[in-house]
Symmetry: none
Subunit: 241 residues, 4 copies
Amino acid sequence: MMRVPDEVDEPEVLDAAADELAPDGRALRAERRRNERREAILVAAQRVFRDKGYHQASVHDIIDDARIARGTFYLYFASKQEVFSQLVDEFLRLIRTQVRRISLEPGADAPLDQLRANFRRVVATVVEHDDLASIILRDPISFDEDSRGRVDHFFSQVLDLLVSALRMGQSLRLVRDCDVHMVAVTALGGLRLALVHMLMAHGDDPVVRARERAFSHAEAVADELMAFFLRGMTPAPATVG
Amino acid sequence: MMRVPDEVDEPEVLDAAADELAPDGRALRAERRRNERREAILVAAQRVFRDKGYHQASVHDIIDDARIARGTFYLYFASKQEVFSQLVDEFLRLIRTQVRRISLEPGADAPLDQLRANFRRVVATVVEHDDLASIILRDPISFDEDSRGRVDHFFSQVLDLLVSALRMGQSLRLVRDCDVHMVAVTALGGLRLALVHMLMAHGDDPVVRARERAFSHAEAVADELMAFFLRGMTPAPATVG
Amino acid sequence: MMRVPDEVDEPEVLDAAADELAPDGRALRAERRRNERREAILVAAQRVFRDKGYHQASVHDIIDDARIARGTFYLYFASKQEVFSQLVDEFLRLIRTQVRRISLEPGADAPLDQLRANFRRVVATVVEHDDLASIILRDPISFDEDSRGRVDHFFSQVLDLLVSALRMGQSLRLVRDCDVHMVAVTALGGLRLALVHMLMAHGDDPVVRARERAFSHAEAVADELMAFFLRGMTPAPATVG
Amino acid sequence: MMRVPDEVDEPEVLDAAADELAPDGRALRAERRRNERREAILVAAQRVFRDKGYHQASVHDIIDDARIARGTFYLYFASKQEVFSQLVDEFLRLIRTQVRRISLEPGADAPLDQLRANFRRVVATVVEHDDLASIILRDPISFDEDSRGRVDHFFSQVLDLLVSALRMGQSLRLVRDCDVHMVAVTALGGLRLALVHMLMAHGDDPVVRARERAFSHAEAVADELMAFFLRGMTPAPATVG
DNA sequence: CATGAATGAGCGTTCATTCAT
DNA sequence: GATGAATGAACGCTCATTCAT
């Protein structure tokens, strides 16, 4: 989380410098202010989209929350669609960086440990970025067409990942004989709804929090999910995991 | 104001009587046409709501699809909300009639057979009413408030049912020690997404149908779902189911 | 009020007979039913227009009240405007027949007695036809253009009558030196609002009836109006009236 | 998250301060333009409501008259009802400030002089705000429910005022024995219609102006009204007024 | 003759986007 | 760069009138 501001921003600063030839503190500050403003709009939009969904959210809601003028919004984003699209992309990027292919290299951790680590990272990321996650875990029917496409594509990538993992598991005799596509879909659905409930457990409404307290501990959610996926409901001992 | 009593009113009385006691072909046909039209609007609305969600669907879309005038829509339904609400209610009713509590009476079928029968009935109903099911399986954030309430209530009833079934299973040593709420939520999420994919497998787009062909056989879906819920992914033999 | 039905309707019956050449009981009854139906619609329309005004009243309200089908309404009247127009005309005709020019012929009653008789007849007619009167006493801004024109014309005729009566009164030294047009307008306005309150006193709302009980006796209203118009508020004795 | 405190925010603070403490010409001009626009809409709405009444007037009429876009109307007023309501309230306020209770204090003017002053002020206000007055003098049946309530309440207050004034007049032997409620209503009705005709005399239609030229001089109208109310039509000398 | 289903222009209102200041 | 007034297409809904039965 700690970062040295100047280094990260440098490339942008250089671009700006090219315009002026003599970059002084003013340009730097202007650039930084621009980024802050942009970020503030994204944060406001996050809250609004989480609460209302894409179509029901209005630009009015966003600029109200961000305390900026209507026109200012359009200085930073070309449209309501664009700001939503960027939020979606940011979250997809976040999740993608948390999921790593399971390595079967000799020195690697046990596959199930790698799987558990993936689960835990995803769950932690969802909790950390709860607003974004709430948006993406929704049915994309309520998105604009572009974002719907990207989210659908993301989840189909996730499914592909799961399917290939299951196939590998089957070849290793770690996974039983089953329709891997169906199992992948079902597991993803279970994961998604469990994550939604976990977000409720971290929400503001105390009644909902109480109802969903089973989901309040993120790591426990991750582990219980894994246990369920691996062993189902029955008490027969699973030798793995 | 004084009037000589005469037979002036008789024909009317007879007419009215004829209307009520012996409806002729005309009235019958009118009634049937009315019902057909109403049904046609419901079907059109189903398609539109399935494709766009509640808020994004416009009355214009529905009347275009149904090929009727604006006013005609309002002859049959008081509002866009009402037609949506009726679709939602109809589907919830359909599903509720297909799910039966598992009986532990001496003469009853084995609990797992009863469970499997429930699964199969639900899956079959979903396939049979694919448009309605597509609507209800969505995130209710895109519904009107009333319908959202009813759907949320329905799914929370389903969860309650699952939780109590799991508890009973635990007391019978049929279900392992686990967080029943979390398992119930995860199973429901898995079921829901699997049903969504099954609906894709029954849709019109041949590309999608090919991709989802694993879900094309409804009964197989039901059975595989049950197997996954009961035994998870691992090959350890489950003695039950 | 008592009338022999057959005689009054005869001319119309003959018309119908011309069509058929052999008028039997059927044609007679049909004609009578037609008139009754027409009258029923007018009565229903009266109630509706009284309660809602012209533009706010809908054809739906009228056919609901008359318990007929939409189409039936248009069999008897070409439009909502026409039925309103006929109600207006009927009331104007009623009032016109009650107001008679004051005669100065040697054998005639005293002018003030004639005037009082006019007042009383008008007030009695308004009470008797309270629904119609309620409609016409309203501001004609809420009428259709045609009816507004006719009502405006009617009241301007009334004003002309008043003005000429006042001029005559002045020539007879019965009326003081004043702007007769202004006095006529003011008197008419007073009369109209008093009549409106009298109608309230005859309405259904018991609270309103109680508030307006000063207006409950029609003849007293007529006499008090005349007294006010002739003598104003001051106690100076008027030798006339 | 760690940030080196710097002067990044200062310019904003200064800007904000400049906005609030020393509004420049731009802000002032914007404010003025805003008020002008708002006023223009009110004026257009006045004309439209005067010509058509509340229900028959459409937002389309108003924005056409004001030569603005649909959306612009709703920038300044929340609804058609609100703009009407504001016009009504403004006029009621105007009139209320012109009517003062008659003082019987030793040093006060003669009661009849105070009464005449009230009449003249009201008449002058009506002439000055002819459009608003035209609206309010109409039958409130054509208003929205809220405004109808306020106007009805206003006129019932006026009646109460008249009734109590008449009662006081009776106790002072300045008013003859009569039904004060009925006299009050009749006087109010006379006043209202006289004002309506006075507004016609100040309207644009030259034919109407000619017909109503008796009402063209506002003060004369006020005085003639008072004379009529006090003395009626008869020539018997009234010692008062 | 009576019916009531069907029509579509019109209503009041919202909101994403533009642009002069 | 920031503003917010202005825009107008689109929304859900109403209602006077028509017409096949």
